[in-house]
Symmetry: C2
Subunit: 541 residues, 2 copies
């Protein structure tokens, strides 16, 4: 998993200037899914959906830093039940439910507590990749294995992530922080081999080298997520001439949906509305992706050389995209394809997948489909009373199973300034995307109108059709989908479908018979415990 | 809490033949809520909603015997946080999530594990009151304190609950089981004082006698739940002449909703369609209620005599009703008022409630409103990111707060024969009631049409308006309510509204600054950690 890797910044996905031969190589060996959506276009919530196989409204960790409730089952639980290891190498953005663990008396240092805090993974290395620091301290209060690594390599500050990996140096010898877009075209002041992507790639190889067969490794890169700065030579590979025109339309700023309007007025969006910013930042973003691709090449060669390419399923994906100035927006957060759609490439070495190698598949995929896919790969039956996604393996085998009619994605903006500006209560600061393959509707709680885009006639999503009253029928249909989804079975997690069926009739055979007139209605063995001589008489005749 | 006590089988609620002076006495001291609905018309699921303050689709224990997931917070968690004890005396129908507890390493015998298994209560005495026994063993595999009590009192079998408390004795000296309606007019073969209701009343008094101030006691009677049999003299207080005509209409059997139709064809319903059954059973049901009322009288006198009446809030309610042959139905399970509506009387001794004593309140109450009511009584702030109901205290104070537009109730028939007969998968065997105070719609998953009743023009709910196409507008409106409910915030239980608001802006002060062109956009302290001389140069100029 890459972080903030936009679906169309790969050459196999048609990028005009960015060549990613190693992503393309996996796409050639497997299937590239061209309609894959995250369940939330923000790191933490999206990832918790990947890891639990459940929608944000089901797992409850609906924004960054919102703890995943203790006991919520994850891929780790499901895979270990099938005898498969489940290992983390890199980022999860998991926030432990410390209060919940204390309430249940779970020892934070025991194996169960540690896994609860790591959303079910055994951490080979946990590094969320944002070692930002301000007047109130570090954003991430954990120990940074990456900073420890850099220090061991002679990077001489307490936070070399900030001062070297994510900063350039001026000719005068001053730190030029990667947080500032003005520095995005400078090389990070770090040896390329020590930068985050190569470091994590070596960690992944280190894990694989020593692993016994039967593992699932979540190799989870922070890049190409911001800060937008990359070491040489990647800083110089792309320039302003490789930056596509911003995909934005004047009409988007006219009578925008209030939530979209507030986002467009935000600091990040305003920065990305400037062409000088885009021309500095996007070449760095491309350089970061190019570095990711090169490192992927090393990893693929390593798998090939060690024989692992024949018995390893490879999935390449991202937790969300990046607007990069399209739609007058920066970052992610809303539901245009630039934000909510992700790259998804799956390689399955088994002969059953031979028929689909090198193909694309445009079925409507949700990120929650990966957890059940992995459970099926591990040889398990998908616990579909817990996991809300569906295994993608049939598509890899060339089958065309009956499939979902719509995809849902959610965004919780309760922690943001937008929520405060709009005067919305945190509980109402929630957006829902419903996409049926053609129409994409965004519903906003709190009394706002919806947004509606027709991706068939307006693939760029410039024209919000809900500004007029002309599309009531489409809106009604999408609201029906959303209502259907709202009634989904999400919390009956303690009873499987099979167990429910098998339990039918059990209570009668355990003496519960609230329908007998005289007992003749049922076989005598059902009432035998209620028959016989009364052992004593306590009442008068 | 009484079990299966129908809302209209109290004299204060207008029953023509049943006098319940002690229920009425509490109603005179407090407020009787005349529009209170359970969140599920079946014991286990309804009770888990009372105890968690959450809808069945939120807590997930959607039918009897479906374990409440480990970690789901209950009244016990919320009240103990406020320094209040939370004690069980009687029935909960709680099924422990043994698998979940094992997964989290929770010692089943430790205080945390025991409370998890008792849905948060400390059990003064736990007795679910159904010690039924069949060829496959006991329905309830726990130890029965009530059976132990009976044995200590000289009832000479291993299951005196079945053989004495819930059985008569024939003139020939044979057991005449209370499971058989033919025996419902006979006195149970037990001293009245040893029967379940007096026994539990004494247990309640025993608890109160020794309790330090600051407790919530769930005094939870099994009666008037079946088996329908009652000791003397209650068995003889009511006869066929006190049995109201069945409230049923020939039109209900014409083209019924498929789920309702299947229930009407079930064994329980068919039994209660017989007038001879009703005339045997209903007098016993009334006798059981009369006994409950008498015991309530003893309890009220005890509170009065011990000074507790001045500092104890009393809530009288039930977990659901009983069709008793109305609507051609027996038992509960569906959403006619006989099943889903409950008695609810609240007495608050504090002066603030003086203005409402002896009044009724017809606001739309849900059973999940009690948990927040109790938290407020305990002096706490209602954790409204967890509890889905609303405190009723304002109504007791005579206020008329803005209130809900609709009530929801749910029923999961996945474990039933009806589900199998209709060919519905367990995940689709779910019904949702939406009631706006006038129209009551029942939505059934699985592709069925809805049901619709107009309680203003058809208070008996005989005419299902959804049989025709004439009420599309009302149905659309109720579906909009249901859709709104489906999008409710139910699982973001690790973050309160206050915590979310307080956390805004925190990431910028911890160095997350993804919007800076050159740093001049923010106060210097935000970027201070990224400034200064570079400690070393790793890249060429």
């Amino acid at each position: 998993m890459y972080d903030q890797l936009r679906f169309d910044y790969l050459s196999c996905a048609g990028h005009p200037h960015l060549s990613t031969p190693n992503f393309d190589r996996v796409a050639q060996m497997g299937v590239r899914f061209t309609n894959a959506y995250v369940q939330s276009p923000i790191c933490g919530s999206s990832r918790m959906s990947f890891y639990t196989g459940r929608y944000p409204s089901s797992h409850g960790a609906q924004s960054n830093g919102y703890p995943l409730r203790v006991g919520e089952q994850t891929l780790g639980d499901h895979l270990r039940r099938e005898g498969m290891e489940c290992v983390l190498i890199g980022k999860t953005h998991m926030k432990a439910d410390v209060e919940g663990m204390a309430r249940l008396g779970i020892d934070a240092d025991g194996i169960i507590g540690v896994r609860q805090a790591e959303c079910g993974f055994d951490a080979w290395v946990r590094d969320d990749g944002l070692w930002a620091e301000g007047p109130d301290g570090f954003y991430d209060e954990k120990r940074s294995p990456y900073n420890e690594y850099l220090k061991s390599k002679g990077y001489p500050t307490e936070n070399p992530w900030a001062h070297f990996a994510n900063a350039a140096v001026t000719p005068e010898g001053d730190i030029a922080s990667g947080w500032m877009f003005a520095n995005a075209d400078q090389p990070a002041n770090i040896r390329e081999e020590d930068s985050e992507t190569p470091w994590l790639t070596r960690e992944a190889m280190g894990f694989i080298k020593q692993a016994e067969p039967g593992w699932c490794a979540h190799v989870s890169y922070i890049k190409p997520h911001w800060p937008y700065i990359v070491p040489a030579p990647y800083h110089a590979m792309f320039g302003p001439e490789h930056v596509p025109e911003a995909r934005r339309h004047a009409s988007e700023r006219i009578d925008p949906h209030p939530v979209y309007g507030a986002y467009m007025r935000g600091k990040v969006a305003q920065a990305f509305q400037r062409d000088d910013v885009r021309k500095k930042v996007i070449p760095a973003y491309m350089g970061l992706i190019k570095q990711c691709d090169d490192q992927l090449g090393f990893l693929l060669d390593f798998l090939q050389d060690t024989g692992r390419m024949q018995d390893t399923v490879i999935v390449l994906t991202s937790d969300h995209g990046d607007y990069l100035g399209d739609h007058w927006m920066g970052e992610k957060d809303l539901f245009h394809d630039q934000s909510a759609k992700i790259p998804l490439i799956i390689y399955d070495p088994r002969p059953g997948a031979d028929a689909t190698r090198g193909t694309t598949c445009n079925t409507l995929v949700e990120s929650i489909d990966l957890a059940p896919t992995f459970v099926e790969i591990a040889g398990g039956k998908v616990p579909d009373h817990i996991l809300e996604g569906r295994s993608l393996l049939p598509w890899l085998r060339g089958e065309t199973p009956a499939w979902r009619d719509y995809a849902i994605s959610e965004y919780d903006y309760s922690p943001t300034a937008v929520c405060a500006q709009l005067g919305v209560e945190p509980r109402d600061a929630r957006l829902f995307m419903v996409f049926d393959g053609r129409y994409k509707m965004i519903h906003a709680e709190g009394g706002f109108r919806p947004m509606l885009f027709d991706l068939q006639n307006d693939p760029d999503e410039f024209h919000d059709l809900a500004k007029s009253d002309d599309h009531g029928a489409e809106i009604d249909m999408l609201y029906q989908h959303l209502a259907h989804w709202g009634r989904r079975l999400a919390q009956r997690v303690t009873m499987s479908e099979e167990k429910i069926k098998a339990g039918r009739g059990a209570s009668a055979r355990r003496g519960i018979l609230p329908f007998l007139t005289d007992g003749s209605e049922v076989p005598p063995d059902l009432t035998a415990k209620y028959q016989g001589r009364a052992a004593k008489r306590f009442v008068e005749d």
